[in-house]
């Protein structure tokens, strides 16, 4: 009887350990995919299709992550949600043809998101500038 209880405890803790490492793995995959956005070629036409493809993948990864999280609100999930929102200015650019108006709207959306010139703000700003001035 004692052995049975110990085995159960061991298997439960192993299971939860596996799910935490599973979440970590998913989070790292998300971050790797996310970073690809900042390596997209600066060509206006290529940017939209490439961005939309990566963003779709990120949304899917986030959705699967939330299912695995089981309503736990992990810091990894919170980070992924924030990372997706930070992309809004690039999403504006990727919707249809990139015009001067869209470029200024994207810049403006990025400025609205800014607080203390953080890394994500500068990253997006640089990306907008590279695409729009190309």
């Amino acid at each position: 009887m004692h052995q049975l209880i110990l085995i159960s405890i061991f298997s439960i803790s192993l299971n939860s350990f596996a799910s935490v490492s599973d979440l970590n793995k998913d989070y790292n995959e998300f971050q790797n995919e996310y970073n690809k956005i900042f390596n997209i070629k600066n060509d206006k036409k290529e940017f939209s299709s490439e961005f939309n493809k990566i963003e779709k993948e990120l949304q899917l990864q986030y959705k699967n992550f939330v299912k695995k999280e089981k309503k736990k609100l992990t810091s990894e999930g919170n980070q992924m949600a924030l990372d997706l929102e930070v992309l809004e200015p690039l999403r504006i650019l990727a919707e249809g043809t990139i015009t001067e108006k869209k470029c200024s709207e994207a810049d403006f959306a990025n400025d609205l998101n800014n607080s203390d010139n953080e890394k994500s703000y500068n990253q997006i700003k640089e990306q907008i500038s590279l695409i729009c001035n190309n």
Binding site: Y27, V66, K71, L73, S75, E76, G77, N78, Q79, A81, L82, L84, E85, V86, E88, E105, F108, D111, L112, N113, N114, S115, D116, E118
Partner: protein, 378 residues
């Protein structure tokens, strides 16, 4: 000789009378005798159409009159005492008893919110725009009442022309945190009573963002918008420059513009950013009591620095929960892997409200303890 001394003292009395009257003004915060804002307000009463209209609409001149009447200590003892107003004429009584729109915040609460000094933030002297960290201007009950009336008026206007979800208690919390209702603080990150930023002013004016709200106020036939319109009319002809600090600080058309733009920008963020993101959540929780509270928390949180994207992320995270759980979790920190907190601004708002409790006294304190900022609403 003695008559000369007598005349000398009379002359001295009249020279120093104005100073002694000024010094006797009670400062609810700031340094007594440091009368820059009082003088600014007195000047606005004479020169600003907006200030005159607010004072008339809310009967603020009569509040002062009634208050100075009640300050007469022997009056209550004298059963035959007839208020000065009655003595003047019936017209005056009619004016006083005429129903005026109510101020949304209780005086005791605003006074408590103002009991702080932001020692590291600059204070602006208008119209010149001079900045110092040591001005510590005196704030009087009359100035707080005036700001209360401006917020009441513009809140009613913005509420009429938009689907603005905020309640007066939310605004009390916001202004308490941003400035403690002091109109003259400014630094690179924010200016005046609502600590407005240049990007928020630009957003409120942008064609594809907040401009429709400005247009709706301009077109509105509601009497609630008649005073706000005066600012809009001016700004549509000549948009305010954020570099002109006094355009958002000076009493007359500065602090008033600050209040209007804070409210318009909140309505704009709601309309363009937050509301579309909450559609599914609203639908899933349509029969639940806390849906409105969840919306209000989200909008307020979005007003803080970097709050817009953080709020959208928080909504993304919390929409899977019931409205009760949404509200409960939103009031706590939601930390990200890289150390950000998605609900920083709401957490700060809550901390500020906790700080107000020890300052309040008597009945107000008990009510605040029980109902929080809601107890600060008339």
């Amino acid at each position: 000789m003695s008559s000369k001394i007598y005349v000398f003292f009379i002359v001295l009395y009249f020279i120093f009378l104005p100073f002694s009257v000024r010094a006797s003004v009670q400062c609810l915060s700031g340094e007594p005798g440091n009368n820059h804002l009082i003088e600014q307000f007195e000047n606005a009463k004479k020169t600003s159409g907006i200030t005159k209209a607010i004072i008339k609409k809310y009967g603020l001149d009569q509040i002062q009159e009634i208050q100075s009447e009640s300050e007469c200590s022997s009056c209550e003892l004298n059963k035959n005492y007839i208020p000065k107003a009655s003595r003047n004429n019936l017209q005056q009584i009619k004016k006083i008893t005429e129903k005026k729109p109510e101020l949304i915040f209780k005086e005791a609460c605003i006074n408590s919110a103002g009991q702080f000094e932001a020692v590291t933030t600059g204070e602006v002297k208008c119209p010149g725009g001079e900045i110092s960290k040591e001005f510590n201007f005196c704030m009087t009950e009359e100035i707080y009442n005036y700001e209360n009336a401006v917020i009441s008026d513009f809140y009613n206007c913005v509420k009429k022309v938009t689907n603005f979800p905020l309640m007066p208690e939310d605004l009390f919390e916001l202004y308490s945190l941003e400035s403690g209702f002091k109109p003259h603080y400014a630094y690179s990150g924010g200016m005046g009573i609502g600590q407005l930023t240049s990007i928020y002013v630009a957003d409120a004016l942008a064609e594809y963002r907040g401009r429709n709200i400005i247009t709706n106020i301009k077109k509105s036939l509601n009497k609630e918008c008649s005073i706000a319109k005066q600012i809009i009319d001016d700004d549509l002809v000549s948009p305010p420059q954020f570099s002109d600090k006094c355009a958002f600080i000076q009493i007359g058309e500065g602090v008033e513009r600050n209040i209007l733009y804070t409210l318009m920008e909140l309505a704009n963020i709601w309309e363009k950013d937050i509301s579309p993101k909450m559609t599914k959540f609203n639908k899933n929780n349509s029969d639940k009591e806390n849906v409105k509270k969840a919306q209000r928390l989200s909008l307020i949180n979005a007003y803080g620095p970097g709050g817009r994207k953080a709020t959208l992320a928080a909504i993304r995270r919390l929409s899977i929960f019931s409205s009760e759980e949404f509200v409960e979790k939103f009031n706590k920190p939601i930390k990200t892997k890289k150390g950000k907190n998605l609900t920083t601004y709401i957490n700060k708002i809550n901390e500020k409200q906790d700080d107000l409790l020890p300052i309040l006294e008597g009945k107000e304190k008990k009510e605040f303890e029980k109902n929080g900022a809601k107890s600060c609403i008339n």
